[in-house]
C-alpha cells in the first residue's frame, strides 16, 4: 500500500511541474508583450485555468477503473447464477467437494507440518540425545549429572533440560486412578518458554532434596479432579506409597499449565521436579532423562552440535569409564515430534489436489460447452464495442463468483476436518492443533482464484475467439469439432486412473496384511498395565517378589488360562535392535550380532502360543536364561543348535547382562505384522519395570474379564491402578490405523475422481450429440443405420478413455514411487492392481458413453429436419 501512496505523490509532483511549465511560458510571453509582472502572471493563470483542477483531471486519467469493472462483473456473475441455477449448482457442488477436501487436508498439513510448535521461538528447540558410538546402538537415556554438565559447560544453548514419565496412582479416591507423572529436571519450563496459566514455576528450593514437594498439574486434571477450582494453588495431591528417600506421598500444587501444553505427551497429568542433589541421582551410569534444549538466538543446530560434542568429549576425558564412548546428537524438536506422519499427509494432499484438478477440468469442459450457447451473447458484446480483454475479464469474474461460492461452502466442509482427524487419527502428532483459522480461509480463497484461472481461462479464451470471429462473419453455424473438450476428458480419466491405482495398491497391501500368519495367536489375549515408578527399582528383590505375586494372582482368576508380563508387546512396531555378543568361540570383530531383545516372563510362550522348537520355555531361575528364535539360530549358528551358548547384552556398557540359551522358539512377527521375523532374543525375567505390560490368555472374550482383573489387583495392591486395558487384537488393529485411514481416504478420493471423470465423459458426449442432432438426422434420413451412429459416438468416447487410461498408467508408473515403504506384500507395479483399475475405468466409461450414444441413435430424423 505504501508504494502506491508514494507513486501517487511522485505522479502529482510531475503533473504540477508539467503544468507549471505551461503557465510559466504563458507568463514569459505576456511579459514579452509588455505586461507588468503582476498582470502577466494573472493573465497566464486566467488563460490556463486552475492548475489544481487540472491536476485532479490528470489523476483521473491515470486511475485504474478496476473497482467499477469488478463490481459490475460480479453483479453480472450473480445474475448468471440465478439465470442458470442447475448449471451453477453443479459447478458449485463440484467445487465445494474439491476445495473442501483440499482445504481440510491442508488444515492438517498446516497445523502438523507447516506451523511452528506452539512455543515461543519454537525453532530454537532441539532434542538432545546421547548414544554409544562404539556400539552404533540407538540412543539411550541421559544421567542427571551429565545433563547438568552439558547445561553448565556449553556456550550455544540457553538451557538444556530433561524429563521422564511414569504412571502413578492417586490414592485419595476409593479406587486408585492412574496419573501420568512427568518428572522433570531443572529449567523445564524455561526451555519451553512457557509459564503456568495459574500459579508459578518451581522454585529453586523445590528442586533440592528435602525441599518442599511441589507439582504443576495439567489443565485436564484441574478440570477433572478439582472442578477447575480457582483457588487450586496450595492444595495437595496424594499418591500411592511413598518410597523412602525417593518420592513423597503428597505434593503441593503450585500451578496449572495451559490447556495447550502437552509435553512430554498428551496424557501427562502432573509435573514435578527431580532433586538434582539426591544421592541416587549422582551416578553417571543411570539412564533417566530424555533431553530437550533451547538454542541461543541465531545459533544453528550444526554449531550447537559441535559445541556440545566438545563438551561431551571433555567429559569423556574426565570420566573415561562412563563417558568415553558417548556421543551426542541433536535434532530439531518439530522434526522429532512430527515424525513419520508427514509422508502420509503429503500423499493425501497430493490426492486431494489431483481431485481438485479433475474437478477443474470437469468444470472447464462444462463451461466450454456452455460457451457455445453464449456465443450469440458474446458476439453481440463485441459488436457493441467491448474489447476482448473486457469480455474475458467478465467471463472470468463469472467463474470466480461460482468458485467463491464453492470455496465458502467448502470451508464449512473443511471446518469439520479437525474433528474428523481427531476421531480417526488420534495418534497423529499435533492433531489437537488442527483448527480452522484465517490461514485456512486464505488458502481456500486462493483455491478459488486458482480454480477460476484453471477452469475459466480456456473457455473464456476460446469463447471470445469464436465469438469474435462470429461477430465479424455474422454466421450462426457452429462446427462440431472441439478437440479441447476431449483433451479435458482425457486428462480427467488419466488423473482418475492414477489416483485409483494408488488407492488400489494400498487396498491390496492391506488385504495381504490381513492374510499374514504372525506366528503367534493374538485372539483372546487381554493386555494391561499396572502403575509403577522407577524409584521402586531400587529394591530389586521386593520388585521381583511383587511381580511374581501379581502374575500368580492373575493366573488364579477364573477364565484366565495363562498370564505373563513383557517389556514390549508382540506385533507392535517400534522396538529397536541391539547388539549382542556370543561368549563362546572366537569373536569376529567384523561380524555384529544384532537382534531384537525382549524381556518376557515365564508363561509368555503359553499366552502367545508360540511353539518351542527345542529346549525349554522360560523358567524362573536364579541365573539369567534366554531363548532365541529360529531366525537367530539360523543367522548366527547355522544348522547347529544355539542351546548351551551364552549371550551378553550391551557388551560395551556398564549394564552387561549375560544369559544361557536354554531353548529355541519358532519365528513370529514380534516387530509388527508387516515385518518378517528377525533374529530375536527372549530374556526370561518376571521383573516388571514401569511400562511393562501384563497379558493373559482368556477362555472367552478378553474384555469380559477386565473388571474382575481390576478388582483382584486392587485387593492385593490397593495403592496401584490398573490402566490401558485392551485386547491385544485391538492394539494390533490400531497399529495400522493410520494405514487404514490413508487407504480409506485415498479410495474415497479415487472413487470420487472416477465418478467425476465419468460425468465428464457423459456430459461432453451428450453435448456433442446435442449440437450434431441435425447432422445425425440428415445421416439417418440418408440411410445410415442407427447402429452405426451409436457406434460412432461410442468409439469416439471410448478412444478418448483409452488414451486417458494409457496416460494415467504412465503417470501412475512414475508416481507409485511415492508409496514405497507403505506397501506390504505386493510390488509397486502390482500387475493385478494396474489391470483391474484399467478394466474398471474402461467398463464404467463405456457405461457412461452408452447413454448419449444410444440417445443419438434414437434421433428422429423427421423431427430434427422439421425443426430447421
Amino acid at each position: 500500500m505504501r508504494w502506491l501512496r508514494r507513486r501517487k505523490q511522485r505522479e502529482a509532483r510531475e503533473f504540477e511541474r508539467e503544468l507549471q511549465f505551461h503557465i510559466e511560458e504563458l507568463r514569459q510571453r505576456n511579459l514579452a508583450a509588455g505586461m507588468s509582472a503582476k498582470e502577466a502572471r494573472r493573465q497566464a493563470i486566467l488563460e490556463f485555468g486552475g492548475p489544481e483542477q487540472m491536476t485532479e483531471q490528470l489523476r483521473e486519467v491515470h486511475q485504474i477503473p478496476i473497482l467499477e469493472t469488478v463490481t459490475a462483473n460480479l453483479k453480472f456473475g450473480l445474475r448468471l447464477l440465478r439465470r442458470a441455477p442447475a448449471f451453477s449448482m453443479a459447478i458449485v457442488l463440484t467445487l465445494t467437494l474439491g476445495i473442501g477436501a483440499n482445504s481440510a487436508v491442508f488444515s492438517a498439513i498446516d497445523a502438523v507440518l507447516l506451523r511452528a510448535l506452539p512455543f515461543p521461538h519454537a525453532d530454537e528447540l532441539v532434542v538432545v540425545r546421547q548414544y554409544n558410538y562404539k556400539e552404533k546402538s540407538p540412543w539411550s537415556f541421559v544421567a542427571p549429572v551429565r545433563l547438568e554438565d552439558w547445561n553448565k559447560s556449553n556456550s550455544t544453548f540457553q538451557a538444556i533440560t530433561g524429563y521422564y514419565v511414569e504412571n502413578e496412582s492417586e490414592t485419595s479416591l476409593p479406587v486408585p486412578e492412574k496419573l501420568t507423572h512427568a518428572l522433570v529436571a531443572p529449567r523445564f519450563l524455561q526451555v519451553w518458554g512457557v509459564a503456568p496459566a495459574i500459579g508459578r514455576d518451581f522454585l529453586p528450593a523445590e528442586e533440592l532434596l528435602g525441599g518442599p514437594d511441589a507439582a504443576l498439574i495439567s489443565d485436564r486434571l484441574w478440570h477433572k479432579r478439582f472442578n477447575a477450582d480457582p483457588n487450586i494453588v496450595g492444595k495437595s495431591l496424594h499418591f500411592g506409597s511413598a518410597i523412602p528417600g525417593h518420592r513423597p506421598a503428597a505434593y503441593t500444587i503450585v500451578g496449572v499449565m495451559s490447556p495447550s501444553f502437552f509435553f512430554p505427551d498428551r496424557d501427562v497429568d502432573l509435573w514435578s521436579p527431580v532433586p538434582t542433589n539426591a544421592p541416587y541421582a549422582q551416578s553417571r551410569e543411570s539412564t533417566w532423562y530424555q533431553c530437550i534444549g533451547r538454542l541461543k538466538p541465531g545459533v544453528t543446530v550444526k554449531k550447537a552440535l559441535a559445541d556440545l560434542s566438545r563438551v561431551q568429549s571433555d567429559l569423556g576425558r574426565q570420566f573415561p569409564k562412563t563417558d568415553a564412548n558417548l556421543a551426542v546428537s541433536l535434532s530439531p524438536a518439530k522434526q522429532v515430534m512430527v515424525g513419520e506422519s508427514s509422508r502420509s499427509l503429503w500423499i493425501l494432499f497430493g490426492a486431494v489436489t489431483l481431485l481438485l484438478l479433475i474437478a477443474c477440468t470437469n468444470i472447464a469442459a462444462l463451461l466450454l460447452a456452455r460457451m457455445s450457447d453464449r456465443e450469440q451473447e458474446i458476439s453481440v458484446r463485441f459488436s457493441l464495442g467491448a474489447s476482448r480483454r473486457a469480455v474475458i475479464g467478465q467471463l472470468l469474474t463469472e467463474t470466480f463468483v461460482l468458485a467463491l461460492v464453492g470455496s465458502i461452502a467448502g470451508l464449512t466442509l473443511a471446518s469439520g476436518a479437525a474433528k474428523l482427524f481427531r476421531t480417526f487419527t488420534p495418534n497423529l502428532p499435533r492433531v489437537q492443533e488442527i483448527a480452522l483459522d484465517w490461514r485456512i480461509v486464505g488458502y481456500s480463497l486462493f483455491c478459488a482464484l486458482f480454480v477460476t484461472f484453471l477452469c475459466g481461462l480456456l473457455p473464456a479464451l476460446r469463447g471470445t475467439r469464436l465469438a469474435g470471429s462470429l461477430a465479424k462473419a455474422s454466421r450462426t453455424q457452429v462446427s462440431g469439432r472441439y478437440p479441447a473438450q476431449w483433451v479435458l476428458v482425457g486428462i480427467q480419466i488419466a488423473l482418475a486412473v492414477t489416483l485409483l491405482i494408488g488407492a488400489g495398491l494400498l487396498q491390496r497391501s492391506l488385504q495381504e496384511l490381513a492374510r499374514v500368519t504372525p506366528g503367534f495367536d493374538a485372539s483372546r489375549v487381554l493386555t494391561l498395565q499396572i502403575s509403577e515408578s522407577y524409584g521402586e527399582t531400587a529394591d530389586m528383590k521386593a520388585l521381583t517378589q511383587r511381580s511374581k505375586h501379581i502374575l500368580e494372582t492373575l493366573r488364579g482368576i477364573p477364565g484366565v488360562e495363562a498370564a505373563a508380563n513383557v517389556s514390549t508387546l508382540p506385533g507392535i512396531p517400534g522396538q529397536q535392535q541391539t547388539e549382542l555378543r556370543i561368549l563362546e568361540g572366537e569373536r569376529d570383530p567384523n561380524r555384529k550380532i544384532l537382534a531384537d531383545s525382549r524381556f518376557v516372563s515365564p508363561g509368555y510362550f503359553d499366552v502367545m502360543k508360540i511353539p518351542i522348537l527345542a529346549g525349554d520355555a522360560c523358567r524362573d531361575s536364579t541365573s539369567p536364561t534366554v531363548l532365541v528364535n529360529r531366525s537367530f539360530n539360523n543367522a548366527y549358528f547355522g544348522q547347529s543348535p544355539a542351546t548351551g551358548h551364552h549371550l551378553s547384552l550391551t557388551p560395551n556398557s556398564q549394564f552387561t547382562m549375560t544369559g544361557e540359551i536354554r531353548g529355541i522358539a519358532a519365528d513370529s512377527r514380534e516387530q509388527g505384522l508387516n515385518t518378517e521375523p528377525i533374529p530375536t532374543v527372549y530374556w526370561c525375567s518376571s521383573v516388571a519395570f514401569p511400562g511393562t505390560y501384563y497379558m493373559m490368555r482368556t477362555k472367552a472374550d478378553p474384555m469380559t474379564l477386565a473388571d474382575s482383573v481390576r478388582r483382584t489387583i486392587h485387593e492385593i495392591e490397593p495403592s496401584r491402578s490398573v490402566f490401558d486395558v485392551q485386547p491385544l487384537e485391538q492394539r494390533l488393529t490400531d497399529s495400522f490405523a493410520e494405514d487404514r485411514l490413508r487407504t480409506m481416504l485415498l479410495s474415497l478420493f479415487a472413487l470420487t475422481a472416477v465418478s467425476l471423470a465419468c460425468l465428464g465423459i457423459y456430459g461432453t458426449l451428450s453435448y456433442f450429440v446435442a449440437i450434431r442432432r441435425r447432422e445425425i438426422g440428415l445421416r439417418l434420413a440418408l440411410g445410415s443405420l442407427r447402429r452405426q451412429i451409436a457406434l460412432r459416438f461410442l468409439t469416439q468416447g471410448l478412444s478418448v478413455c483409452a488414451i486417458g487410461c494409457v496416460c494415467g498408467l504412465l503417470l501412475a508408473l512414475t508416481s507409485v514411487r511415492l508409496l514405497s515403504g507403505m506397501l506390504y506384500g505386493i510390488s509397486r507395479f502390482d500387475p493385478l492392481t494396474f489391470i483391474a483399475v484399467v478394466a474398471l475405468v474402461l467398463v464404467v466409461a463405456a457405461g457412461s458413453t452408452l447413454i448419449p450414444a444410444t440417445r443419438a441413435a434414437r434421433t428422429d430424423p423427421m423431427h430434427v429436419l422439421r425443426e430447421e
Binding site: E18, E24, F48, G49, M54, Q57, L58, V61, H62
Partner: protein, 110 residues
C-alpha cells in the same frame, strides 16, 4: 472506460498525434502549434489538452521524457511511438473517408 465525448475527443486526439508527429514537443508548444496550424480557428482548451496527452501516453501512442526547452527550463516533451504512428495513419484514413462521405452527401444534396 467509456467516455461520453468520444467523437470530440477522437478529433482532438488525432490533432495532437498529428502535431506531435512533426517532432518532440511539450504541451505548451502543442497548444501554440495547433492554434497556428488551424489559423486561430480552433482554440484548444488547455483544460482538455493535458488529460488528452496523458490518455494518449497511457495508451502507448505517445512517449514522453523530460528535456530542456528552448527557454532553458525543463519541460515534458512528447514524441510519437511506433504504435502512435500507426494509429495516426489509421485515424487519418478513416477521417478522410468520413469527411469525404460527408462532403459527397453535402454536394449531392445541393
Amino acid at each position: 472506460m467509456k467516455d461520453k465525448s468520444e467523437v470530440l475527443q477522437g478529433t482532438l486526439d488525432m490533432l495532437i498525434l498529428k502535431v506531435v508527429a512533426l517532432g518532440p514537443i511539450h504541451g505548451y508548444g502543442i497548444a501554440q502549434r495547433m492554434r497556428q496550424i488551424s489559423k486561430e480557428v480552433l482554440q484548444v482548451q488547455q483544460g482538455s489538452l493535458y488529460p488528452a496527452l496523458h490518455r494518449l501516453e497511457k495508451r502507448g501512442w505517445l512517449e514522453s521524457s523530460w528535456q530542456e526547452s528552448e527557454s532553458g527550463r525543463p519541460a515534458k516533451f512528447y514524441k510519437l511511438s511506433a504504435e502512435g504512428r500507426k494509429q495516426l495513419a489509421q485515424e487519418q484514413l478513416s477521417w478522410e473517408r468520413v469527411a469525404g462521405a460527408i462532403a459527397l452527401i453535402l454536394r449531392t444534396a445541393e
